[in-house]
Symmetry: C3
Subunit: 151 residues, 3 copies
């Protein structure tokens, strides 16, 4: 019995040590969507999760009724961030779980105005980020923001 236990322990020891290097046969891929997203019919999910990593699609400042929040870069940034926050919260996540964002601006000259709104969503710890001017965004948006979160 003792020998069996030692052999079992040895087997477990080996098993444990190889765990980090052996990925599971296949990770579950979870498509996160909403009725509104399905109705819109665009070929992307609002977010997709695998292994606790949540990839959010590029979000725009669209309002529930349709169309973009009016008023330019400030209000549109706020709406975009609110939309992302709603997606995060629907998954039990918050801005403190976001590790990386990519920001696409219709006009890079609006980068400072964008930053003013963007930073209000964080407590001083900011995700890594890239920002660039795009030659055009879907729906004529002034800003599109894409985030990656980790559970």
């Amino acid at each position: 019995m003792r020998y069996v236990s030692m052999i079992a322990a040895a087997a477990i020891l080996v098993g444990c040590e190889t765990v980090p290097n052996e990925a599971p046969a296949q990770s579950e891929i979870r498509y996160i969507t909403t009725d509104a997203a399905r109705a819109a019919g665009f070929p992307f999910s609002p977010a997709v999760e695998a292994d606790g990593w949540v990839f959010l699609s590029g979000a725009l400042g669209t309002v529930p009724g349709g169309g973009l929040a009016p008023g330019g870069i400030g209000p549109e940034t706020r709406q975009t961030m609110d939309n992302i926050q709603a997606t995060l919260e629907s998954q039990g996540l918050g801005w403190d779980r976001v590790v990386k964002c990519s920001v696409f601006l219709a006009d890079i000259a609006e980068w400072p105005a964008f930053n003013e709104i963007y930073k209000t969503y964080f407590d001083g710890n900011y995700p890594a980020r890239s920002a660039l001017g795009a030659s055009g965004l879907a729906l004529g948006a002034r800003v599109e923001i894409e985030c990656i979160a980790k559970r």
Copy 2:
């Protein structure tokens, strides 16, 4: 002997519990390339894998003989998607393992035409995605698509 086994078991128990929080000393980074890619001499690998995450380089709609598929956004999108699919399949992967794509368009006005072709590669479950207009793409391409897949 029994004591040894108990000590070993205790050590293992601690070891197992810390596995998820302790990354392995170093993950293997696997460069995925082809003879054609090596011959082209560009400074990027078609794909790189670490921990079951496969990062594909931005793909263009190039044809085997060289140059882009002719005919505009439709045929070029199809060729780009076929090229990505070939890379995925070479790794035993398919579109159902892709969690996120980024789409760069030479003209954002071609977003609807792009979507029409893009969506035909999926069974209704779509990766997360961002799309933006670029001020220019390599080789004068009309579209570049970058994907992340998970085993």
Copy 3:
């Protein structure tokens, strides 16, 4: 005692086998910053790490005194790569741990000149990569480079 040890071993065995499929309750998110980055006051961390994945913010070719390295795409690319390397090295990482880069160019026509400098930082094994022309970059930069590394 022997029975206890067997029961413990059985419990451990089950524990080990579920490790790969059960993510830890919450991954640690580590914000990587510097005094200079804090002083600049921009709303992003130079890098953020979770589960051994290190996401670097888009880097520009800024020099310690402020402003961009003068001389155009060549010197600016070199400075940008040096800046990224400094961030990597501060975390005990090097270019051989980088799996993916995104390159944003103010003018896609400078892609070949960019590549000439970029490739000198690698030993022949290249990360996956995307590159595109941006309609504008922060600080009037000619190039911005974003990388993902894995420990």
